[in-house]
């Protein structure tokens, strides 16, 4: 019963929190650029407007894929709140991500085609890192289930500091932040128009946006799990992490996929492997 309530909270609160995070993100970014920026609730206005727009599509696959992306993302957040198996959460999240890409590939648009290919490369970069983070989690708690975490007395960060850094790579990619925002970005103008999102429009873009909020909550939720013993420190950790993300976003240029694969595979995987060796040896 408790689980059910938590799941409902997750599904309802997920997009609300995710939208607020997105709003704060824009606000803080504006602050970094000495602007005032939009109100914190701006993402909600944006999405509401998108949902109210005319439905225009290139073909029906886009509708299907936008919905499945949303459903996949929402289910993964629900599983996170149900404290389910981490690998399962990750694989369910992949359902959404894969459908987003497939919807973009279904359209004869050069921009969304190239965007989709790049999105796949991003998945190629972050997926192994995430799996290794979960394996680290298993080595510490003795289970892949999030539930097992609460039995731990010390925060995970103490045992998995390097894995947390590696998770940062995955976080940056998942949040579509520079230098890894080459499949699509929050900013209107890039060389691919809007990359993988180019052909999603109106209500379907709105759905994609909500799904992205869910994903934001999912990755931030994973970060929060690194300090489960104290809610205040957990909040500080998440806020700090997100501030660093915004700082990185504002100070980095957009890079190429070659650069990304090299960095994430060598540095990200390297950090994870070193941390895992330490956990195995312990």
């Amino acid at each position: 019963m408790d689980t059910l309530i938590l799941v409902i909270i997750g599904i309802v609160a997920g997009p609300v929190l995710g939208g607020l995070v997105a709003g704060l993100d824009r606000r803080v970014t504006a602050w970094f650029q000495s602007r005032q920026g939009p109100p914190v609730t701006q993402p909600f206005f944006d999405v509401a407007k998108l949902l109210g727009k005319e439905r225009t599509v290139v073909n029906q696959w886009q509708i299907l894929c936008a919905w499945v992306y949303l459903i996949g993302a929402a289910t993964s957040v629900a599983l996170l709140f149900a404290q389910a198996d981490l690998l399962l959460i990750f694989f369910v999240q992949a359902v959404g991500a894969v459908f987003l890409v497939m919807g973009a590939l279904a359209v004869k648009s050069p921009y969304s085609q190239v965007g989709a290919q790049r999105e796949l490369l991003q998945m190629l970069a972050y997926e192994p890192v995430l799996v290794l983070v979960f394996v680290g989690f298993y080595l510490v708690t003795g289970s892949f289930s999030l539930e097992a975490l609460w039995a731990q007395e010390t925060p995970l960060l103490a045992k998995m500091p390097l894995l947390y850094l590696a998770l940062g790579f995955a976080l940056t990619i998942k949040l579509r932040k520079s230098p890894f925002d080459f499949s699509t970005s929050h900013h209107g103008h890039q060389e691919l128009v809007k990359g993988v999102l180019t052909e999603y429009s109106g209500p379907y873009l709105g759905l994609v946006e909500i799904a992205h909020w869910y994903e934001t909550i999912l990755v931030l939720g994973l970060c929060a799990m690194f300090w489960h013993t104290n809610v205040a420190i957990m909040a500080v950790l998440v806020i700090l992490t997100y501030l660093v993300e915004i700082l990185v976003d504002n100070t980095m240029a957009r890079m190429t996929w070659r650069w990304m694969l090299k960095r994430v595979w060598l540095l990200g995987m390297g950090l994870s492997i070193v941390n895992l060796i330490w956990l195995y040896a312990r």
Binding site: R35, A48, K49, L51, K53, Q190, T198, Y200
Partner: protein, 147 residues
């Protein structure tokens, strides 16, 4: 309730698409100036998008000629309803000093319906922002009338 929230949101989140029809770049610079910290149009939820499929408001600068009128029409058609068009600068509103040239069709309104005209050569950023706000009021009215 959700319907009224959507209606309210329309005015709060005008995403603009800027199309340079055949401008001398004077007005274009001014449009982009709106995004700088000095004017910071993102305060009003305005975002400059690169894709008509995501846009609510089309800003057009420069004269329309026979080569690009099809492009202008295509871009307008790809914008989902409700949408507004704002013609910027002397050339956009009427063809300006080029209106008698052999290759020029005239102002933007020769090809697509224009909601707001922003004069100036070039138009000032304040005037452009004012034009966008006026355009939003106009298309709120249009949506109202359509019902």
């Amino acid at each position: 309730m959700f319907g009224s929230f959507i209606k309210k949101s329309r005015a709060k989140s005008p995403w603009i698409m800027h199309f340079d029809c055949g401008s001398c770049n004077g007005c274009d610079i001014e449009v982009l100036a709106c995004l700088t910290p000095l004017y910071d149009v993102e305060r009003f939820g305005i975002i400059n998008v690169g894709n008509p499929k995501h846009a609510d408001v089309l800003l057009v600068t420069g004269t329309v000629n026979h080569r690009n009128k099809k492009v202008l029409k295509n871009i307008y058609d790809q914008m989902p309803e409700p949408k507004a068009v704002i013609a910027i600068g002397a050339c956009g509103t009427s063809g300006g000093v080029f209106r008698e040239a052999y290759n020029v069709v005239g102002g933007v309104d020769k090809v697509i319906p224009v909601d707001v005209y922003v004069p100036g050569c070039p138009a000032k950023p304040e005037a452009i922002i004012d034009g966008v706000v006026a355009g939003l009021a106009k298309f709120a009215q249009k949506v109202e009338e359509a019902k």
